[in-house]
């Protein structure tokens, strides 16, 4: 089954939306970004885009669906270190490395664009505003990883799940993928467990606690946030690390 969360009709280009959250773009920048992100192809769920040990071969842009960065222990246990949502570009400067140190795989079915290293180099050279947005994106990826370390290392089970939902909500909202406080969350409980460092049993209990408390509703891969202030309070969520208002503040 290949199922992709459909964007709302007339949904904006998520790549452009995300960059515009970080920096002001010109019409010329937008035309170029529309052009390079037009050639999408569909990848099924649980497919590797990049494998640990591969030689880097350009970068991937996620246009629909959700992917992740992850590493595995020898016994197969997996830790997910990042989610990639529509508008996210994987590893801007990865061409500088000789081998990948982690894998990037789809969680749900995705629409992706593959950009050659030369294309990325040309964008960075000829479109300074886009380059600025992409570099801010890289800093935000690092800030998000720090927040995830805090999440996995120090928060309680339910707060970890709540924090993850708060973050995904913010990130999808900025690229126009949230409607009436609902968004597609095509993740298994095992995916959530591998993201939060919990067992699937603890994930189930935490989801039940959030449901019973009237904070969320999760059914048919659709997460509806019923009480966002409560969810944020449970998570101890502060959106500052996502730097999403920086374009207007600059």
């Amino acid at each position: 089954m290949t199922r992709i969360s459909s964007p709302p009709a007339g949904a904006p280009n998520p790549f452009i939306r995300k960059l515009e959250a970080f920096t002001a773009l010109s019409d010329e920048d937008r035309v170029m970004l529309e052009r390079i992100s037009a050639e999408t192809y569909v990848v099924g769920p649980d497919a590797d885009l990049v494998r640990e040990g591969d030689k880097p071969d350009g970068v991937y842009l996620i246009m629909e669906g959700m992917a992740c960065r992850h590493k595995r222990l020898e016994d197969g246990a997996r830790q997910i270190m990042a989610y990639l949502v529509p508008g996210d570009l994987c590893d801007l400067d990865v061409a500088l490395l000789s081998r990948m140190d982690h894998s990037i795989s789809t969680l749900s079915a995705c629409k992706v664009v593959h950009l050659e290293p030369e294309t990325v180099a040309t964008i960075l050279e000829r479109h300074p505003a886009v380059a600025r947005g992409l570099r801010i994106g890289t800093l935000v990826d690092e800030a998000t990883l720090r927040e995830w370390l805090l999440n996995v290392g120090r928060r309680s089970s339910t707060a970890r799940i709540a924090h993850l939902f708060c973050e995904v909500f913010e990130r999808l909202a900025v690229v126009g993928r949230v409607r009436e406080d609902s968004f597609a969350l095509i993740l298994t409980q095992a995916d959530l467990a591998d993201t939060t460092g919990l067992s699937t049993v603890l994930v189930t209990r935490s989801l039940q606690e959030l449901r019973n408390g009237g904070v969320i509703d999760l059914r048919d891969s659709e997460l509806k946030i019923l009480d966002l202030p409560r969810l944020r309070k449970i998570a101890g969520f502060k959106a500052n690390y996502l730097h999403l208002g920086d374009a207007t503040a600059a």
């Binding site: 016994d75 049993v201 189930t204 209990r205 039940q208 606690e209």
Partner: protein
């Protein structure tokens, strides 16, 4: 190694309460909890809620019954010989 099981109710903060304290040579080594209906397909299986000593920090599978859980726990313990 002989294990002794003692029925107990555990406050897990969920519907999962029916539990067993697991003793090895008189020492508490694990707490197993039976999964409630909220776990759907996994309901009725046994979950290693907490392990001590040799089974602390070990990723345990879910067990279909208490015999399977005890066999797994024995495998983690040092050989008595």
């Amino acid at each position: 190694m002989n294990l002794r099981l003692q029925p107990v109710q555990v406050a897990t903060g969920s519907d999962d309460q029916e539990s067993r304290l697991v003793f090895a040579s008189g020492l508490l080594i694990a707490i197993l909890v039976c999964l409630s209906a909220q776990h759907e397909a996994e309901a009725g299986k046994w979950y290693l809620e907490v392990g001590f000593g040799r089974i602390h920090d070990v990723a345990a599978p879910l067990f279909s019954d208490l015999d399977e859980a005890q066999a797994w726990i024995r495998d983690q313990l040092p050989d008595p010989s």
